[in-house]
Amino acid sequence: MKRRGRGIGCMWYPIGFTVDANPSAATVKVNEDGTATVLTGTVETGQGALTVLGQIAAEALGIATDDVHVVSGDTDVTPMDTGAIASRTTYVTGNAIYLAAEAAKAILFEAAAPMLGVKPSQLEAKDRRIQVKNFPQRAVTIGEVAFRSQVVLGQPAIGSATWNPPTVAMDPETGQGKPFATYVYATQIAEVDVDDETGEVEVLRICAAHDCGTAINPMLVEGQVEGGISMGVGMALQEEMLFDANGRIVNPSLTNYIMPTSLDMPEIYVDIVQGFDPTGPFGAKGVGEPTAVPTAAAILNAIHDAVGVRITALPATAEKVLAAIKAKKGAPKQIPR
């Protein structure tokens, strides 16, 4: 008989890593037509980081995502970056790009101020224009300013910057300190059906509420959450590298290393919790890794809720769940002849 259960997984996760410094550098170049090129040493690893980084540069310059081209991943061309790890790209690389874009914008403001007859501090960049604050009708296009700055004034609008998250080293004896600049939080609640005759667990739905500070691109946040949950489902129920007595892996292939397919995926409901971190670019933190953190916990708690057995060693394979159910019921019943 299938028994239904529900379980909560709640977590916190730091942005960036401890042990060493964690810097990023970036360059933002505003072209003569008001579009821009960003140079970053990070690498797109499929999560959509370059899109988000482009959005950060665009927002800072008052232009559209489509106006920004991001060049990445070439040590001959791009400035150093600690890399696409530790959920740090939006927060750390994003801050470097934001600062580089601000530096480029300051050059544009210097050029635009005499054009509009105001001080640079009275200007803002918005809707592809540089305009006087509170007087948006007094404006020139960014393209016009960028062209003038480079071709007439000889001051191309190029900004470079670096950023390293502020941390305090941990005391080796007590571990007290500030190992990370900021943290994100999340809760996932899973609903499962457990077949108490076979031990098979089916994850029906997962409601995921994630904090990432400002969601620079909500669609990509949702993508991360869905991907993270698929990894969490595998960790909870299926995936395990097995070794023989001589330390050799016995299942080094996808034939017998079982992982979730689309058919194993539950219904996923994503909520992005409104948050704002003043230390992040436009309030953003990160979301990549945390999405995979609470899933297994939520599923295992749901199994406990459904059939009253606590699986303490992952993964909760059908065999393991069935054995636990039988152990709970006492000696296995004989099938009557």
Binding site: C10, E59, T82, Q176, M219, G232, M235, S253, V293, A296
Partner: protein, 462 residues
């Protein structure tokens, strides 16, 4: 006459069609294959860029199968490399005979560990050889690399390489490896290669003040990232003495430093190009076969490509740390956590890789997002003669989350409390102090609990 008119008309028509085509689209599929108006194109054109559901500029290439991964790149004269794996977990290498492989037609070069200028790398401890030279530390270690004109010939050449091993004692269980009498993986060093402690308040005092004590032991398994694209790279050591590496790697800055170190080259002579990564999840944060490919390229004067098989992804790349986690919590009868003591033993595999960061994150995060005045966490990472464990999405956090949240439900059940309420009672607030004494800002744990509960339709059962 009529025929000519028709041809002319068609030519004009083609020109008209070309004019209509948005030249920013790759000129591959017929125009009808694309939606007339892309659904979310507007988001990319908004000048409030932040918060927009902007599509990715690379998604069209992915969707059309036009993205070029390493395996799609073919340089003129390129050779294919394969690596011979030890297949034995702990041994001394007595002899490597590569002459049989070198004599094969189509085999252009062989490289072994002794030829690598500095045969060690690693982000924290440089304890991992590019190719095992004297000592094998786990079954997936490479012992020789072959470059041949085809992958098939390279594969056959691996069979012709003779390696004589002297088996050595091995240890596979991390708890066993912690004992003084256990075989030392990297003798004479202790198998415990890093420890971390977080101490806040006084746990013994906290337990004494508690109404109930709960204890539990939890453990997790070794997991592989299983990126769709395996580890892959092309090395091109050109005639100017400059080395270009195309690699599916998420950290090119560190990778260039590792290449410079292992090959004893100035960094200015190395160009590292991070190609489109077909899945990373932490598995592609450091170099693997690249120095061996570079030397094969130097020996042959030709570009050399190496792509791991799916099997090598399991045996010879990093994996997720199995952790044995002991939890003990003292709580009041209302369900408030007064003290929590935790001991973590991480199976660190044969090499350190990203274990130091994993150990740190697991240790710091292990008490959970809860206000606890008295915390003691001790964490150890231990060498075993198994595949190395390293960075993987979450760096130890999914493991400890499984433990602290299972433990939390056990506490709730023991006290007859609702699982949501006990979490809301203990969760961090803005300005709460973390286990390391850090004052936390922009804290929204309770908001995530309430939001997920509302979406789920959670009803209290206490």
């Amino acid at each position: 006459m009529d025929d000519k008119t028709e041809v002319l008309e068609r030519e004009q028509l083609d020109i008209e069609i070309l004019r209509d085509v948005n030249l920013r689209l790759p000129a591959v599929a017929p125009r009808e294959a694309f939606p007339a108006v892309p659904l979310t194109v507007d988001a990319r054109l908004q000048t409030r860029a932040v918060g927009q559901r902007a599509t990715r500029p690379d998604c069209r290439m992915h969707g059309l199968g036009q993205t070029k991964y390493i395996d799609d790149i073919k340089l003129p004269g390129m050779l294919y490399a394969r690596i011979k794996r030890a297949g034995i977990s702990s041994a001394r290498i007595k002899r490597i005979d590569t002459s049989g492989a070198e004599a094969m037609p189509g085999v252009m070069a062989v490289v072994i560990g002794k030829e690598i200028p500095v045969n060690s790398f690693g982000p924290t401890f440089q304890d991992q050889p590019v190719l095992a030279a004297d000592r094998v530390f786990h079954a997936g270690d490479g012992v020789a690399a072959v470059a041949a004109v085809t992958e098939q010939i390279a594969n056959e050449a691996l069979e012709k390489i003779i390696v004589e091993y002297e088996p050595l004692p091995a240890v596979f269980d991390p708890v066993e490896a912690m004992r003084d009498d256990a075989p030392k993986v990297h003798a004479p060093n202790s198998n415990i290669y890093a420890t971390k402690v977080v101490r806040k308040g006084d746990v013994e005092k906290g337990f004494a003040e508690s109404d109930h004590i709960f204890e539990g032991r939890f453990s997790t398994q070794m997991i592989e990232h299983v990126s769709l694209e395996p580890h892959a790279a092309i090395a091109d050591w050109d005639a100017t003495g400059r080395l270009t590496i195309y690699a599916t790697i998420g950290r090119i800055t560190l990778a260039r430093a590792d290449m410079a170190r292992t090959l004893k080259l100035p960094m200015s002579r190395i160009r590292l190009i991070g190609t489109t990564v077909g899945g990373n999840f932490g598995g592609k944060n450091e170099i693997s076969q690249e120095p061996a490919l570079a030397l094969l390229s130097k020996k042959t004067g030709r570009p050399v490509k190496g792509v791991f098989t799916r099997s090598e992804e399991f045996t010879s790349s990093t994996t997720r740390h199995p952790i044995i986690m002991d939890y003990k919590s003292g709580v009041t009868k209302e369900g408030r956590i007064v003290a929590r003591q935790i001991r973590l033993v991480l199976d660190g595999g044969a090499y350190c890789s990203w274990s130091a960061t994993t150990l740190g994150k697991a240790c710091i995060l292990s008490p959970g997002p809860y206000k606890i005045d008295n915390v003691l966490t001790e964490a150890f990472v231990v060498y075993t003669n198994k595949t190395m464990t390293g960075a993987m999405r979450g760096f130890g956090a999914p493991q400890v989350c499984f433990a602290y949240e299972s433990h939390m439900d056990d506490i709730a059940k023991g006290l007859g409390k609702d699982q949501l309420e006990i979490r809301l009672l203990n969760a961090f607030d803005e300005g709460s102090s973390s286990p390391t004494g850090q004052v936390l800002h922009s804290v929204v744990v309770k908001e995530t609990l309430n939001k997920a509960a509302a979406r789920f339709g959670w009803e209290s059962q206490s």
